[in-house]
Amino acid sequence: MAQNARSHKASKVVERMGKKLTRQMVGSLVGCVHCGMCTDSCHYVLANPDDPTYAPAYKADQIRKIFKRNFDWTGKIFPWWVHAQDVRTDEDLEKLKDIVFGKCTNCRRCSLNCPMGVDFATLNRMARGLLVSVGVMPEGVAVVSKDQWEVGNQMGVLPQDYLETLEWLSDELEAEFKDPAARIPIDRMDADIVYAINPREVKPHFLSCGRELDHAQRRMGHDQFWSLLRGR
């Protein structure tokens, strides 16, 4: 009866939660005593002192209440007594998404300050996985994940685009230094330093990074100083 009242996505989340639960997670789900020792350890709480919904125990309870309603006996029999609650609609999943993606960085400071050793980061990671499995996630995460899978990097830069960008950057460097040797080396096997570029730097910061490295190379008077990797 209860399962029929759920949306398709909510049903899948509950069904998959049952398969994902480990002993470590269940211990963390049943072990919280709501002592509040974790509250002041959370940087979100420190940044938002007037909003109690940032308290790690509250955030964990949004996952815990689904577990209790569906997998724990007290929550099944007396849900109101332990704040057990099911997910019913896609809106419920959206609310959960805002918490697990938007109000926690999985830094584990709350866990390190928990007398019970409740591992909230593990619970949060599980919740993120469950939501992603039904397509509920922040748009930014969806876009970069798609790019990572399909293109090989989160900025969606194709290898050919990357090499062409390096080519015109080299032309700019060459013109700037008036030196035909001022080129960006790529996949050079005898380089002293390999510069594996951060995917986010490819677009906005590459030019400045490349210039700085090239300046450093020139100051040291050292050829074969650095090289870029072409690899994805």
């Binding site: 470590q24 997670m25 269940v26 211990g27 072990g31 709501h34 020792m37 919904t53 006996w73």
Partner: protein, 236 residues
């Protein structure tokens, strides 16, 4: 001692404890049904850390208030925790001592010390209730079970102050109330958050294992370099 008091202090307690033990067995079996998680990443290169050390450190965490920032900064809260839990443990012990080894409660100093401990824990319970209701974050996360468990323990500790002298000849009321409450407590505990002590070894084991494997536990506090002024040598 009346038959009624004999019944509530002996048979009723045994029945309640047996019930609690049976429920706990089911509970642990249920917990063990879930598969244990595995580490998927390479172990830490920190030679001072290991899963084993992490587990030991995690279990010992309860006796090391300096190991957590939360207890380091809230030492009063930690003292409350120690007193409250010692009182609960002593109270459970007293429920067994009175019917089965009353001689241990004969010295007045023992009775007085227990009464002071129970009274202190009762006051802490009242304070904790106030904190739970007055702090917005605490109020938000508190369930009816949290509130009822705290009230139950506080009232039970209050009753035990009057039961500790163990003088049924002066009136059986305090002992009757104490033992009936103890029986109810034992039956209710497996269904409430009070059973957290059952999960404590599990949660701390797995958390310690993970943190030890990843080189976080045992935590080593590093002395931070002192910030320098304008005339200082170092600048960050």
């Amino acid at each position: 001692m009346s038959e009624s008091l004999r019944f509530v202090s002996d048979y009723l307690q045994l029945m309640a404890m047996s019930f609690m033990a049976v429920v706990y067995i089911f509970r642990i079996r249920w917990l063990l049904k879930f598969k244990a998680s595995r580490e998927r990443q390479a172990p830490s290169e920190n030679v001072d850390a290991s899963s084993f050390k992490g587990i030991v450190y995690s279990w010992a965490n309860i006796a090391m208030p300096w190991s957590m920032e939360s207890t380091r900064h809230m030492s009063f809260f930690y003292i409350q925790f120690v007193v409250f839990h010692l009182a609960v443990a002593a109270n459970i012990g007293m429920s067994l001592v009175i019917p089965y080894a009353p001689g241990l409660m004969k010295p007045m100093i023992v009775v007085r010390l227990l009464q002071i401990l129970f009274a202190a824990a009762c006051a802490i319970g009242c304070y904790r209730m106030f904190r739970r209701l007055s702090n917005p974050a605490m109020r938000l996360i508190s369930t009816p079970d949290d509130l009822f468990s705290l009230v139950l323990l506080t009232v039970w500790l209050f009753a035990s102050v009057f039961a500790a002298p163990n003088r049924p000849d002066l009136g059986e009321g305090p002992l009757m109330v104490y033992f009936i409450m103890t029986a109810f407590f034992l039956v209710y505990v497996p269904f409430s958050k009070i059973s957290h002590y059952l999960y404590y070894p599990f949660t701390r084991f797995y958390f310690g294992r993970t943190m030890g494997y990843r080189g976080v536990y045992p935590i080593k506090r590093v002395t931070q370099p002192k910030p320098t002024n304008n005339k200082g040598i170092k600048s960050i």
